[in-house]
Amino acid sequence: MNRFRGKTAIVGIGEVPTGHFPERSFVDAAITVCEAAIKDSGVPKHAVDTIIPIGVVSNPLDNANVVCSWLVEELGLGKTAKSNFQVMSGGSSSANALKTASSLVLAGLSQAVLVVHCDRLGTGIDFNAAVTAFARASVSQEYEVPYGWGQLGLAGLLQQRYMYETGTTERQIASVVESLRKWAALNPNAMMRKLRTADEILDSPVISSPVRKRTMNVLADGAAAFIVTSAEWAKDLTDQPAYVLGVGSRCTNFTSTQQPKNYHAAWGPAADEAYTMAGIQPKDVKVAEIYDAFPTFILITMELLKLCELGEAGRLVENGHTSPGGRLPVSTNGAMMAQGHTGAGGGVAILVEAARQVMGKAGERQVPNADIVVETASGGVGMDFHVGVLGREA
């Protein structure tokens, strides 16, 4: 038996609504989600001995301050905390923080680890500054910067090639957004809760072909947190912990030019490793909480996770199977396309949603029998690919 499998668990989660909240300060949102996660977990405050703040993109000063133990002081953890340090790998920070937190707990170096993300990309940064920041990071300054690359260009390049290789239609891509909006309508923390049909989505202008206005994500303010403890302690703390059953990762590139052209060869092993560690097969997955940033990546990931055959994901989504009530619920919080893009927090929101489904706390959007939930994350321009498996039994 793998020495990592089922040895740690997520025992508490906290989140505030994602959206545009100019009156909600950074520190207010950050401590609110930490407080919620600690109370949800039942872990006594003094046992939260490691604090991992994920990187803040909108404001370098906020980021410098969370690195310098701002939240330790605000939460009154200064008499008992051992470490405060940052984990930051953009969109995949959730996965790397989960690996780090679980390892610290497993090694006996920490009793309870608090992972927290907070950012204000909706109102804490000028829109053009945000576009520029995203158009400069993860881009080769020597060989890519002269050509007008941006996050939407990235989405366009990925969708164009995916449609060409698989025969997936634009309507099927639009169906991903339709499905995510249906989930978001059931999620009080989501930003884009208005239902949209695939046809309405296709009826929006092309921004960076073939990406349309309604297949873009929207930058937002948001915050979420979770607590990791040993599986042994988790049993006493809560009726239903979300046990960490498997993780798998591949980190492949910096720039989009050098991104693997065969995702399946490059990133598929991450899914295989997570499934093998967890001792499950793709057919055991009840819910897939997939990291998106844009809709094509949901389809690619469904295939990477072997939840369908290559090129079949679009048809599954178009036929409603990933929507509420479908046989393969995907991204039940609405993902970044519908919950909102909070910087490095998209992955944290996805991981928190995976734990929420396993813990049976997803309210109106709770999937029955969510005993095995798979979740994914990816950072940069698609520089890496991470898979985690959470479950109800260790």
């Binding site: 576009v131 060989y143 007008g148 690359w149 260009g153 366009g156 921004i207 030019t257």
Partner: protein, 139 residues
Amino acid sequence: MTEYTKPLPLITDLSRVFYDGCKERKLLYQQCRECGEVIFFPKKICSNCMSRDLEWKQSQGRGKIHSFTVTYSYAPPEFAKDTPYALSIIAMDEGFYIMSNIVDCDFDKLVCDLPVEVVFQPVTPDITLPKFRPRPPAR
């Protein structure tokens, strides 16, 4: 020449060799003398075997569009007045990938795997950028 206001490449000792090549209308890439690995973007150390014995080679300048996107709006601010423009990743015949723009073309006729060839565009006295255009069918 009107003033060029878009971002220029960062010039390092390594990228200077590449852009000096572009000024002479040569598209340069590297190959490892130890293991034969084709390397681009240029590096100091072979991506395969970590050798530092890398040689510069001249590409024939031909390849195919791996993927492309035509940006109409929400472009990075410096590119806003140039929309629409085609951004592309090109698979070169020598086996490396390069990012550039597709120019001199009808955007509606672009498709993945379309054959393209390099054209060199001087943008400042120091910097010439490699761009690509659809290649006429071989005669």
